[in-house]
Amino acid sequence: MLSNLLRPSHRPTQSTISPTHQFLLAPTPQQTSTFTTTSPTLAKGNRPRIDRRITLIRYHLHHPKTPRPLRFSRLRALRHWTIHRAAMLYRQQQRRTQELELERQYNAMRAACEELRIGVGDGGRLYRQAMVRKGIFGGKAQSEGGVLGGNGGVPIEYARAQTDGPPRKGWDEGWTRG
């Protein structure tokens, strides 16, 4: 969504017709075979009528004002360029910050794993156990009789997307197990 909003839009939109529209605009295909393959009732004037809704959609999707021009004065164009440039720089800084954060998190994780491998003094037993990936995307958790290291897969609640407003009841603090 962000990238769509941040896309420069000072050029007029192209007058491209999407495939759907082309289909709507396309005339009925010409007959190419030497004999008719359709029902004889068609030849008696009972031609299939094009749906009225399709006609309406076609009528309303094609407006004579397409494409609309976007004309800027000189100063306005300069201002637009500045705004656009500032937004791009801002976005770049944001991305850089996020990348660096991710990199630091990865490095911390890698250092911890390395310490686990050679620094614990148990011959790497904990490290080997930690590296087991069996059952982390599904199956039962280890505590419920699943494989070693199984954590029951990704819970469905984890798929909750972030929203613009909070839920009416707030956080579900009354949840109890069982």
């Binding site: 156990q129 590296m131 290291g149 954590n151 972030q162």
Partner: protein, 379 residues
């Protein structure tokens, strides 16, 4: 690489009264010094002095027999239990202004709204649409009073201090639009004073007239700042909903993450699950993400201590073991529902808090903060 190294070593091994680079070489003084004092455990090949009198390297001395490992660290598991952000981040003033600017540009570029396609003639819906379009001038509900058509379509930039694109204003306009309103012109408003007398009817001043609500009350979305934020309740999970919150617990007056020592035959994951149950109780829907740690901390004691419980993975040693410190591995976990409850905890915890990253820094010991500062999420 080997060619270069050989050359460097060769140059360095040339007899020189002082460690000064020969004029044709490009070695810095420090490298030269290091090379001249290289321990000769690795035989240095002399390309040009192969025939010189170089004594053969002595036979490698056998390693001493391995001594029993008597000094170790204890292994602990700490839990980075976090609540993921519930809300999208709030926009900065620059972002909201920029998005409004782009939305209005889009308005200048988009096709006219084909009213007859969406509203049949003479229906109440069409009447409502006409009313609102007279107010907004455009089908878009979140760009304020602006039309992309007409003589003043160029005037799409908002003035300094205009709050049109901000979230509160957008919510306000959406709710107002959903409720429906009747717009009155200014002269009409002035001559008829009934509206003023009816105090219960909501009246919002706008430029050139006023609005009168005609529809039913529409519930507004819940505010992003919760009651817990206003109260400053750090135990609530409804606080700081656009941030990641981490569970911190208090033990012996010190704040930290829930930590426990690894038992024998335990993996980090099972230890983390056990720690979770022992510290914050069963009534939390949690998920421990992955089996490996996301961070670690090594703490060395000033004096070695004797070990009461042998750490995991060791066979019983014949020599007494000394503990010179502790190594803590941080496991990442998420809370999905429920709340921490310290009533039956066995780790001697007194209090808990849900804190965002910068608050964690304020509360934690400096060493522990340095261990986790790159594991925690900024947002």
């Amino acid at each position: 690489m080997s060619r270069g190294n050989n050359l460097v070593r060769h140059l360095a091994s040339q007899p020189h009264p002082r460690p000064r680079p020969p004029p044709q070489s490009t070695i810095c003084l420090r490298c030269l010094h290091t090379l001249r004092h290289t321990p000769r455990s690795i035989p240095i090949r002399h390309a040009s002095t192969a025939t010189a009198t170089s004594s053969p390297d002595p036979a490698p001395t056998p390693l001493p027999p391995p001594t029993p490992h008597t000094q170790t660290h204890t292994i602990h598991t700490a839990l980075l239990l976090s609540r993921a952000p519930l809300l999208t981040r709030s926009l900065t003033p620059f972002e909201s202004a920029y998005f409004l600017y782009q939305r209005r540009l889009n308005e200048r570029l988009s096709l006219p709204f084909s009213r007859y396609f969406y509203y049949a003639r003479g229906t109440p819906q069409e009447a409502a649409y006409k009313r609102s379009i007279r107010e907004r001038l455009t089908p878009a509900r979140d760009i304020g009073r602006y039309s992309g058509y007409g003589d003043v379509a160029w005037d799409d930039e908002v003035k300094v201090g205009d709050r049109t694109g901000e979230r509160e204003e957008v919510v306000e306009s959406l709710v107002r639009d959903a409720e429906g309103f009747l717009r009155k012109d200014k002269d009409e408003d002035e001559e008829g004073g009934e509206g003023e007398k009816e105090g219960e009817k909501e009246r919002v001043e706008v430029t050139g007239g006023s609005r009168q609500k005609i529809g039913k009350e529409v519930p507004k979305p819940v505010e992003r700042i919760s009651d817990a934020d206003r109260r400053g309740d750090e135990r609530s999970l409804s606080r700081k909903m656009e941030r990641t919150l981490y569970l911190l617990v208090q033990k012996n007056g010190v704040w930290g993450f829930p930590t426990s020592r690894l038992g024998p035959k335990e993996s980090l994951h099972t230890a983390a699950e056990r720690t979770l149950i022992q510290s914050a109780g069963l009534n939390m829907n949690t998920w421990i993400v992955g089996n490996w740690p996301v961070g670690h901390q090594i703490l060395n004691y000033p004096q070695p201590r004797s070990d009461e419980l042998a750490p995991s993975g060791f066979t019983t040693p014949s020599t007494p073991r000394q503990i010179i410190g502790q190594k803590t591995f941080f496991m990442k976990a998420r809370i999905l529902a429920g709340q921490a409850d310290l009533k039956n905890n066995t780790l001697d915890l007194k209090d808990f808090k849900w804190l965002a990253k910068e608050e964690v820094q304020r509360v934690l010991d400096k060493r522990e903060w340095n261990a986790v500062r790159w594991c925690l999420s900024e947002r």
